[in-house]
Every structure is written in structure tokens, then in C-alpha cells.
């Protein structure tokens, strides 16, 4: 088990980590091609454009065509990675459904700029629906790594994996959560801080905040477990059930709408295994707005103190259930 503490706060953004990883993996994956819709500088794929220009294909600002064309490129034996902002992936979700998932193509979608983490660009650009939407497509694997280290590992993992994948990166510099010894496996959650009173299950930018929340709770004598659930689909049902059994209360935390994303996936797993009280931390079924990511995390109540508050609430429910 990794150490519980945050390693630092000056990490690379996840998009940079992804971009660098992709460039470094290009020689190892000779079929790899990267598809861009005129935002290579934003998604991190400017690195591979420079290092391997023959692997970089420009589609212009036309995401629907890019998404379906990836299906055609996969059909002729290439390994296409579609890159754009998360919100523009929604624009092409029907292409992802038919031409990637229904046709079972080995193509990857890597989306930067998810959630409130987008910041100043405002509500129109802050995609809070992608995890729910892509999770609903049969055959789609959905991943949201927590930091730069995990993003680099996940980039390799999705290229090795056979099948369509939707992966979120992130715009803002992200705190380091994991050390060099970290490993990543698709479909596996990981307990990154142990505790017995309740479990906080988080993904993406919320993992670092969940660890900070656990520190706040510890100061009050509450022993919170933290799980990094980097794969939203397929959800690690065994781990969710085990945490419910061992701690009896769950908080989910995501930079996403409270509906249909990580919280929905965890609640579905709990309902089918070990029902336990759950509190959902996420954006409360509303759109975002301009601001710095940290300001927005407070404004929309997904910052660490709100996770801690949800933890206290769920603990109260757990204890009330026990007295019944």
C-alpha cells in the first residue's frame, strides 16, 4: 500500500503527462496514430507532432468526422488515438457509439479539459457529463487517472488494451499523488490510504482532494479510507463491496455531475453487492462558470472540506442505521 500523504503540489498537468507519454511510446507502438482537431497544444499531442510528425493526423475543427474516421483507421490496422477537449467528445459521441464501440474498433479517445478543472473558459467548456455519457455505451472502457504519474502509466495501458477506451486527462497542473513505484491496471481500484470508519472513493482531480479531506477527518479522530478508482467502467465491484463491508459507509468524489459518473457506478455496484449509505460529492446537476479551478472547487462544493463534510454526514447515517 502506498503512503497516504500527498507527495507535492507542483506536478505536470495530466494533458502534458499524456502528451509526453504518447511521444515516448510511439516507437514501441508502430501502428499508433494521433488524431487532432486543431488543439494539439491544448491536449498535449504537440509533443508527438514534433517527435513523430508522420504519426500525427490533422482533422481540422471537425470532431464528428475525426471520431468516425478513427473507426476506419482502426479497421485497416492502425491504432488511432482521438484527441480533443472532453466537451467536444460529447459532440461526437454518436460516432464513438456506432463507428467505434458498435463496430468494436481498437481506438482510443483521450479527452483533455474535463470538469471544473477547465477553469476560466467557463461553463460552456467545462464538461461535467462525459463520464456518464461514455459509461452508457456498451463496450466502452472509461478511465480518469489521478495525477501525471498515473496518466503516463494509463497511457501505456490503454495502448496495450484491445478495445475502445475513453480517458480523461486534465488541464491544470495537478498535485503528485503517486510515487515512482505506482502501478496501474485497467479495472482495478486501489486503496491509497487505509481507514476503518468510512471509504472515500474518488477519481481524477478529486483523488488529491480526498486525501486532503482524510487528513482533515483524521484531525477529528475519524479514520477515513481513500480509494483511487481510476477506472470508472468496468468499475472494480469487488473493491467497492469490500470497502462497504469493512467500513460501512461510502463517499464518492468526482469533478463531474453527481449523476451517472463515478458516484452512479459505485452506487450501482453497492446496490448489487453490499448496500451501504452513500454521499455523492460532485457538481450538483448544474453547469459550471468561469473562475480558477480551486475557486470553482469551493464555489461548486467539490473541494476537500466538502468531501470531509460529506464524510461526516455519511458517518452519521451509518451510526443511525446501526442503532436501528
Amino acid at each position: 500500500m502506498s503512503s497516504p500523504a500527498l507527495i507535492g503540489s507542483s506536478g505536470d498537468s495530466l494533458r502534458e503527462a499524456f502528451g509526453k507519454a504518447l511521444s515516448s511510446l510511439a516507437d514501441e507502438f508502430p501502428q499508433l496514430v494521433v488524431l487532432d482537431a486543431d488543439i494539439a497544444g491544448g491536449t498535449g499531442v504537440h509533443h508527438i507532432r514534433k517527435s513523430h510528425p508522420d504519426r500525427f493526423v490533422q482533422f481540422g475543427i471537425a470532431e464528428q468526422n475525426m471520431m468516425a474516421a478513427a473507426g476506419g483507421m482502426a479497421a485497416v490496422g492502425l491504432l488511432p488515438v482521438v484527441t480533443t477537449f472532453a466537451v467536444f467528445c460529447l459532440r461526437a459521441i454518436e460516432q464513438a457509439r456506432l463507428s467505434l464501440c458498435y463496430a468494436k474498433r481498437n481506438a482510443k479517445i483521450v479527452a483533455s479539459h474535463p470538469g471544473l478543472d477547465v477553469g476560466p473558459d467557463g461553463g460552456s467548456a467545462q464538461c461535467l457529463e462525459d463520464l456518464a455519457a461514455f459509461r452508457a455505451i456498451p463496450g466502452m472502457t472509461v478511465i480518469s487517472p489521478a495525477d501525471a504519474t498515473e496518466t503516463m502509466l494509463a497511457t501505456r495501458a490503454i495502448l496495450e488494451f484491445d478495445g475502445p477506451v475513453y480517458m480523461r486527462t486534465g488541464r491544470s497542473p495537478a498535485p503528485h499523488v503517486f510515487g515512482e513505484d505506482h502501478t496501474f491496471e485497467i479495472g482495478k481500484g486501489r486503496i491509497i490510504r487505509d481507514g476503518g470508519d468510512l471509504t472515500i472513493i474518488a477519481c481524477g482531480a478529486e483523488v488529491a482532494r480526498a486525501l486532503a479531506a482524510a487528513e482533515m477527518l483524521a484531525a477529528d479522530g475519524i479514520d477515513a479510507r481513500v480509494v483511487n478508482m481510476a477506472t470508472i467502467k468496468p468499475i472494480d465491484r469487488e473493491l467497492v463491496a469490500r470497502c462497504a463491508r469493512e467500513t460501512g459507509a461510502i463517499v464518492t468524489a468526482e469533478d463531474h455531475n453527481i449523476h451517472g459518473g463515478l458516484g452512479g457506478a459505485v452506487a450501482e455496484a453497492l446496490a448489487a453487492t453490499v448496500p451501504a449509505p452513500v454521499e455523492f460529492v460532485g457538481v450538483a446537476d448544474t453547469f459550471g462558470s468561469s473562475g480558477e479551478p480551486e475557486e470553482l472547487a469551493y464555489a461548486y462544493e467539490i473541494a476537500a472540506p466538502f468531501i470531509a463534510a460529506a464524510a461526516r454526514k455519511v458517518l452519521k447515517r451509518k451510526r443511525a442505521d446501526a442503532r436501528r
Binding site: 493526423v57 476506419g72 485497416v76 460516432q95
Partner: protein, 306 residues
């Protein structure tokens, strides 16, 4: 069921050679294949109790020429990486694609009559996991074109000389994605890509003109950087000649705007929008249609009494 047609002179130096066994000219063979495709299409839609006959009949000659003369693809080589690929972007014409597949040996003619049935590989729209030779799954207009341009781009990147063909409906051209794909194909100089437009002038509810005007269509494609041919889509020598021009065009993708008649070959259907949609055909209507197509009692029985 009759055995498959065998037309062996694909994109060779002379497209007008006669079949050695039958002495039939290529044109006669392709015309017979198109007739067979129309008959099989109508029978399948009759058995299914639903389906889109109008736009399937209009593209039968184009399909016969593609599979019978133009494309380098054979039933025993559907996983050959050097094969030519065809994508039916107007996926609702699936019965015609299945009928073409049956005519040229890619699938069993009798099995393909189980159109739209539970458990059948012949779904209402083509699905590549059911039938690998359909190359990709279609049914959402615009997407098949993008997939085909992705194939053409991917083949070029791999220095593979195979060609890619995509058939689009006219109403389909109202999808914005079509013009994204058109722009990208020209930008990437995909001269290994040939788009066919089944321009029968009618779409689901009414005429193109009344729903959303397409003209000037050839000028639009030219403006997007495509080599444009405009032909009668039922004139087999004209279709073959347009394919020949497309094959020797370099530096730009080719589009063949094929003027066709919706419901072609069946007088009760020709140019009537009501036969676009998913319709239920009675046995009498089907018999009448098959007779109009020149089917004799034996062929009608073979197609309808399965």
C-alpha cells in the same frame, strides 16, 4: 437457390470481355446481377415485413458494377489487407447490399432472406460483427463516409494501394459530417477514395428540393476539391467508365453523382416517396414487382416460398 455469378475481370485493362462459359458480355452479366439484386431485395423486404425498398432499388446497378467489375475483393479474401473496401453509408439500403453479397458469393442467398429477423446476421442496417464483408457498421447517416475516409487515409499512411468506395444517399448529404469528411478527404488528397451518390431525388418524407435543397450539387463537390463525374446511375457502361476515371485521378478524391430513379424497375414504386420508408409489402405487391422485374414463376416461388 441459384449459384453465384462469377465475373472475374476486375478493374483490368478491358472491362468488356465476355464470360468464357456463357458468352455473355460484361454489361449483360452486370445487368443480370442488378436484376437479381432487385428481386432478392424485394423478396427479403417482403419476408421481413418492413424495410426500405425505394433507395435499395435505385442503387442496384451501382452495387452490381462495384462488386461485379470494379472492386478487387473476393469472398475468399475478405480479410486480405490489400482488398478494396466498400462502405454502404446509406445503411438503410442494407437489403440491396445483402442481395449484392448473395449475388457475388459473399453470403448465402437464402440466409440473406432472413432480413430483420431475431437472430439473423442480416440486420436492418449492416453490422460488421455479423457480416465482416460489409466492412463497417452503418445506419447513422454521414458516419459511413467518415469511416471510409479514415480507411482511405489509413491505407495511404501504410502505403497500401487498396481503394475505398462509399455509397451515400442524397438526403444523407444534409448531414454536416458529410461536409467535414468531404473537406478532410480533399485536404489529405485521398485519391484512393471514391464516393458514389445515389441521387434519386427523394428522401424519407418528400423530395430533396422540398425538404432541403442540394443543388448545385456537382459545384459543391468541385468547390470542396473533388473530381466530379455526373452519370446516369442505371447506365452500366457509364458507371464503369466513371470508375475508370476515378481510378486514374491523382491528388484528389473522386465523387460519382449517379442520377437514379427511386424504386427503379418496379412501376408501382418508381419515384414515389412512400416507398422510401420502412414499408410492409403484401405477397401480391411483391409478386407484381418481381414479375415487372422479369422474374418467372420458378424464380418467384424460389424467392417467396422459403
Amino acid at each position: 437457390m441459384r449459384t453465384s455469378l462469377h465475373i472475374s475481370n476486375k478493374r483490368g485493362p478491358a472491362n468488356d470481355v465476355a464470360d468464357i462459359a456463357t458468352g455473355q458480355s460484361l454489361e449483360a452479366q452486370l445487368s443480370a446481377a442488378a436484376r437479381r439484386i432487385r428481386c432478392h431485395t424485394l423478396a427479403a423486404i417482403f419476408h421481413a415485413g418492413s424495410g426500405h425498398p425505394g433507395g435499395a432499388l435505385s442503387c442496384a446497378d451501382l452495387l452490381a458494377c462495384l462488386y461485379g467489375a470494379e472492386m478487387n475483393v473476393w469472398p475468399h479474401g475478405i480479410d486480405d489487407p490489400t482488398r478494396d473496401r466498400f462502405v454502404l453509408s446509406k445503411g438503410h439500403a442494407a437489403p440491396a447490399l445483402y442481395a449484392a453479397g448473395a449475388a457475388f458469393g459473399f453470403c448465402d442467398a437464402k440466409e440473406a432472406l432472413a432480413l430483420r429477423k431475431l437472430g439473423s446476421k442480416f440486420q436492418g442496417h449492416p453490422h460488421v460483427l455479423d457480416l465482416p464483408w460489409v466492412e463497417t457498421s452503418t445506419g447513422s447517416l454521414g458516419q459511413g463516409f467518415s469511416v471510409a475516409m479514415g480507411m482511405a487515409l489509413g491505407l495511404k499512411l501504410q502505403k497500401n494501394d487498396a481503394r475505398v468506395y462509399a455509397m451515400l444517399g442524397d438526403g444523407e448529404l444534409q448531414e454536416g459530417e458529410v461536409w467535414e469528411a468531404a473537406m478532410a478527404s480533399a485536404h489529405h488528397k485521398l485519391d484512393n477514395l471514391c464516393v458514389l451518390i445515389d441521387y434519386n431525388k427523394l428522401q424519407s418524407d418528400a423530395s430533396n428540393d422540398s425538404i432541403m435543397k442540394l443543388e448545385p450539387l456537382a459545384a459543391k463537390w468541385r468547390a470542396f476539391g473533388w473530381a466530379v463525374a455526373e452519370i446516369d446511375g442505371h447506365d452500366i457502361p457509364a458507371i464503369l467508365s466513371a470508375f475508370r476515371s476515378a481510378a486514374v485521378t491523382t491528388g484528389a478524391p473522386s465523387v460519382i453523382i449517379a442520377h437514379t430513379v427511386k424504386g427503379k424497375g418496379v412501376p408501382i414504386m418508381e419515384n414515389i416517396p412512400a416507398w422510401h420508408g420502412s414499408v410492409k409489402m403484401t405477397r401480391e405487391q411483391t409478386q407484381e414487382a418481381l414479375t415487372a422485374l422479369g422474374a418467372d414463376a420458378g424464380e418467384i416461388k424460389e424467392l417467396l416460398d422459403v
